[in-house]
Each structure stands twice: as C-alpha cells, then as structure tokens.
Amino acid sequence: MSQEIKLRVSNIEKSFPGVKALDKIDFSVRKGTVHALCGENGAGKSTLMKIINGIYKPDAGQIFIDEKPVKIQNPIQAASYGIAMIAQELNYVPEMSVEENLFLGRLPTNKFGKVDWKKLRRDTIKFLKDEDLPYEPDQKLKTLTVSDIQMLEIIKAISNNASIIVMDEPTSAITQREVEKLFEKIAMLKKKGVSIIYISHKLDEVFQIADDITVFRDGTVVASHPAKDLTMDDVIALMVGRKITNVYPKEECPIGENILEVENLYSKGVFKDIHFHVKKGEIIGFAGLVGAGRTELMRSLFGLDPITSGKIKIHGKEVKIESVHDSIANKMVMLSEDRRRYGIIPVRSVMENASISSLQKFFYGGYWHSKQEKEMVGNYFKKMNVKTPTLETTIQSLSGGNQQKVLLAKWMLLEPDILILDEPTRGIDVGAKFEIYKLMTDMAKQGKSVIMISSELPELIGMCDRIYVMNKGRITGELQRDEFTQEKIMKFAT
C-alpha cells in the first residue's frame, strides 16, 4: 500500500438549478487502496463519481490522475484513463444473453467486422469457468436474478483492466458468499495496484474492506481519514450530523395464532417440500444464497407464478392463490425485489403509483373521487415520511428510498394482514431503512405479520423473530431468535 496518489480531485464544484450538489470538494485516493465513500442519498457521492466517470462536467475544479491534470469529457475518455464504474442502478436489457452482455461494446469480430460468435462463445465459457459462475452463455438476462446481474457487472468491470474502479453499492443485491468472493477479488486487485472507490451504506462491510474512509454530507467532505482511525459510530454520526442509537427498532410483540401455514409447497424445478408457518405479530426472515429459491417461493405464494402442488392456509382456511388478485383478497401483499421491473410505473405520478392497487376505493358511484384519493394517499405519505415535491410528481424523479416508501404505501393502503418484503432495504440510505424497519415493527405490534427476504444477515438477525434458511429450493433450517448467529445461518445456506 503506497502513499502515492492515484486519483485526486481539487476544489470541485457542481450545481444544478436550485441545488449546490458539490461544494469545494478535495478528495484523493492512494494507489492500490480501497477508499470508501459514505454519506446519505443526496450527499454528493454519486454526483462526484459521475464527474469522475465523465457523465457530468464540474463547474469548477480539477481532476488529477497520477498527479497529471486531466479533462474527462465522457465515459469513453474516462475508460481510456483506466476508470471503470459499476453503477448502482442495474440497467440491463432482459432479452440480452449473458455472452452478449459480458462483451458488450467489445464483441470479437473478424477482419470484415462481422461478429465472431464462436470466439465469443469460447471466451465466455472460459470466463465463466475461471470466475466460477453457474450461468450458461446463451442464458437471457431476464432469467437471472438481480443478484446474478450485479455479480456479472462487477466481474465485467474488473476484467476490463481498469486501474481505478468505482463500485457504487456493489453488494446491495448479492449474498454473503458472493460478498466474500468480491472481497477476495478486491484484495487481489489491490495487490496488482488497482485503486478502488467503494460507495456503500453497509458500514460493517466498509470497515472490513476499506483502507481510507471519506464521509460526505450535504455536498461537502466532512471527514477523510484512514479507516483504522474511525469507528462505525463515528462514521454514522458524521453522516447524519448527530448520534443515533438503536439501528434495529425491534420490540417485543404479542404473538398470536397461525396466520399463514404453507404445507408441502412444490413448484417443479424451482422449490420443493416447503413447510413453514407464520404467526400473528411475527416477523419472519428468509435467508439463503442466490438461487436458493426465496424470491421464487414468495412470488408463487403471492400468485405471480404458478404452483405445481401444495396447500396454503390463511387464518386456518385453505385458500387457492392463482393470481395477485387472490392474494390481495386474502390480505397478503408483496413488495418485489426488483422495483424497476415489478414495482414502479416510472412515467406516472407518485399518487397514481400509490393508489394503483386500490382503484375501487376512488372510482365508484360513476366518477373519480380525486379529492379522496389525494387525501388518503397524502395521509399515508405523511405517515411514512415520503419526500416528494407534490403528489403529481412522477415517481422516477424520487430517490430510491422514497420510491420504496411509495410502493410500501401502495400495499399499506390495502391494510394487509401479511406483508411480504423481498430485499426491502436494498440500496437505501440509513434513514429510509430505519423507517422501513419501524413500519415492520408497527405491523407486528398490530398483530399483523411480516415475511422478509434479505441477504443482509445483520438485518435479519436484528429484526426477525424466526429465520427460515433456504438452499437449492428447499428449507434447510429454522432458527429461533435466541439462537441467531451469522455462522448458523450460513451453515444452513450452503
């Protein structure tokens, strides 16, 4: 690890109409180190990274690479300087295949410019084998989970021989095992002299991997120190400007009788022998690795995918769930993992996104009760602290955390008894995360139930009463709250 500075920015300023996003930023990354960036959404980290990657141009200030001043006009220029960026929002084309995506922009061609598909296939197979990835080269991206796709993006960037890699929330969608794989790769990259800028809300990971930590708040750098000189509480305090206690607002709630019982659930080729139950007032966690089948199980439970056989009982009565409508009728709702694909309707307003599952509440008696819709949705937004300029604002203008809260409001409007959450806090800042945890606890206090799929073990351990662990389509273990440890969970997951 050297004292040599690989990348330095000096006095960077960036404003947008009405907002000063970056204010006199000085920031430097030592060669061959991992430099973590922490800060709330809107603190300026992504803006600075976009400047480094050539997506924005700074209003003022200089960028130096190896102490030589550079002008980065666009991402292609950035790439020529050795900068690679792994974005947080996974933009992928569902119909594209793994091999096409892997070599996007650099498909092997013969001398006539025609794509050499055979070489592409060979290279892809070798690559997948070297990296120990279980995908087929011709698999379409839409068959992969969000985790898989994020993993592919990471490995793609690493293999492109960059000397500065920016990773924006790289572990938000992948599981523990893959995080470890990623950290091994990062260690290897460091040895090779690659510098890594690591943006993450997961402070425990940051402290595992970072050599230096810089904290952003409100567009300025509030602190920049070697990681060994800081504690996690210090960083949180610097990020929010005050101390917080109680990251997981778990409370003891009265547990009632079974609200959901699943017996012998089987979906051919996807999951098998699924038995579990959920009691009133419980928060149940589902842990496991990628491909364990958790999302698939919940999608089937919710009526999005078909079940081959098995029983589902709600309030002791057997029910047939063959569509989302059936599930909603039984007061069971689900917040999907991939909110871009299954969650938000980007061009419509936040109000319409929130009311979409409750249309009959506002369209009756032959006309649209718009005032009622505004009031009802407005109330839920207030309760859940959704920050939006107006109710008519399009949802795609909101930050990830606020979008997630709008989607939650959508489900809460139905007053559900069972709330299924698939990776609810992925890529969301500390503040919004906390609000989602509080919502879960409030549900439990009212005698409702929550099922949470999560790849963040601390979150599961902090919030759940019981955790089921899945592996390869089966439930391999069940843990009670007093026996929760990361090791036990991982043991069942592998």
């Binding site: 947008f16 109409p17 009405g18 907002v19 996003a21 709330e40 959404n41 809107g42 603190a43 409100d218 929010v240 917080i244 206690t245 109680n246 607002p249 999005l304 569509s323 989302v324 409508h325 599930s327 909603i328 689900m334 999907s336 694909r341 299954y342 969650g343 938000i344 309707i345 980007p346 061009v347 419509r348 319409e352 979409i356 599952s357 249309l359 009959q360 369209f363 032959g366 006309y367 649209w368 602290n385 920050k387 939006t388 300029p389 107006t390 008519e392 604002t393 399009t394 795609q396 203008s397 909101l398 930050s399 955390g401 606020n402 959508k410 800042d429 500390v430 503040g431 906390f434 609000e435």
Partner: protein, 333 residues
Amino acid sequence: MVEKFKKSKIMEKYSIFIVLIFMVVICSLLDKNFLTKNNLTNVARQLAVGTILAYGEMILIISGMLDLSAGSVLALAGVLSVSFYKATGSLIGAFLIAILVAVICNLINAVMITNFKAPPFIATLAMMTVARGAALLYTKGQNILQLGKYVVFGQGDILGIPTPIIFLAVITVIIYYLLRHTALGRSLYAIGGNEEASIASGINVKLVKYKVFIINGILVGIAGVLFMSRVNAGLPNGAVGYEMEGLTAAIVGGTSFSGGIGTTMGTLAGSFIIGSLNNIMNLTGVDSYVQQIVKGAIIALAVIWDIRSKSKKTSKVILVEEKQDKQLNLNLN
C-alpha cells in the same frame, strides 16, 4: 422551485392548443375561404371519422399497444353494414352490425395479443391484411352504391348541427370520461407505463386488454358507418391508411408512443391540427402527391418530437432528484 415546476407543467399541458390556434391563424391567412362556415363544417364532418379512430389508437397506445388494422376493419364493417341496410332497410340494425363486425375483428386482435403473446404490431398488421381481403371478397371488389337513407349518419344534421359532429362530441365526452373517471382508464395508463408492475400490483391485465380492444372495435365500427354514409357508397377499398392518420393525430396530440401518457383533449387537438393542414392543402390546390409527402413528414416530426420531449423530461428528472435528496430529513429517534 415548486412554482417554476408547476408553470412548466402548465406550459406542457397547453402547448398543443397553442399550436392549434397558431395553425388556424396561419390557415385563415393562406386562404380566405378557410374560416367560412361552409368550409369549417366540412372540415368538422371529415374530422369526425379521423378523430374517432384517433381515440381508438390513443387508448391502445396508452396501454402499450396499437392498431394497424383500423382502416381495413373500418372498411369491412362499413361494407357489411351498408349491405345489411340495403337488404333490411333497418338503420339501427345496420349501425349495430358495423359495431359487431368491428368488435369481432378487434377481439381476434386481442386474442392474438393476449393469449398468443403476439406483438400488437404484427397481430394488427395481419388483421389489416385479412380484413381488407375480406371486405374485397364480400363485395367482389365492387363498390356498393346508392345507399338511400343510410347517408343520414354522415350527411344529415340535427338542429343544424351535422350528425358526424354530434357523434364526435358524444364520443369525445365518453372517452374523456373513460380515461379520467374509471378504474379501467387508470389501468390503461398503468399497463402502458409498466405492464409487469401492473400485474404485480393486482391489475387483471388480460381482461383490461380485451376491454380496450372491444372499445376500439366500437369506435372503428362507428367510424365505418360515418365514413360510408359520407361518401354514399360501401367502398371495400375505403379508408386505406386511416390508421396511420389516427396514430399521427394521437401522437401529435401528446400520446407517448412508449405508453402510459395521453389525453383526450390533446388527441382532439392533434386531429384538428392535422385536419386543418389537410384542408388548407386542398384549398390552396397543393398536388395530392405532395400532400402525401407532407403527411409522411408530419408523422416523422411528431414521433421525433415525442421522443425528444421525453428525454428532456428525463434530464429534468435528474435535477429534481438531486434537489429531492437534499430535502431529505432524517427522522430518527
């Protein structure tokens, strides 16, 4: 910031009407006959068919689909309707037959698209060819002439107002009501905006798609009656290309080709803008081939404008997001 936001939204909302006014002014300057009662009444009669088709295209595009078969189905429904009238003398029967035929064709479209997952472009393209063939087959390629009282639909008037305009007005109100005051209308916007998210939110997407094609069928059927009665003939080759004009009117009127956005009044304005353009080209004696080139150019411009205004919206979006996050307060214990 919120104030500026509202102002630009209002500008966007009413810009199409400003274009319409502009259009009318220019047209009246180019030819003094434009603003006469006679001419405007003619324009309005002519526009009824086009606008009704445009409404059909609009509701389909909003929900993420489209209909290339409108012109052909119009012709098929029209000739069968005319033929029915000549055989039975029943005006009401003929009217209903037109609707029935058009609805059946559109249900077939719906089945292809929903049950067989055919892309709407391909499915309605197929129907376009088949319906036209059926119309020609039925009439053995001949026009059906001398429709007698049938012309009352397209050429009559009630209390001095031409019947096509009354049809248009009533249908405009109904479509407006549908989009704004019904759950079905709201679902169209959702499905066009993100179909998978709509399914995951509990919307019965298949059923909605059937319903919207049925509505389209009713619209196309009515347009068929108006068209044939205006020209006083059952023309199996009539209304060729009318679906393109319907699409253009919808898009010029602000319906986004990528779905999830569109308004009744906007489409009405779009249709009138194109109608005025056609009319002024006729009045000033522009060669009909030149007119065709102009129409094609308008379609291209309308779509390019639509795409560009969407990308402007996206960059506005990023700015709002930055400001958004800065307003984020943390409510922690």
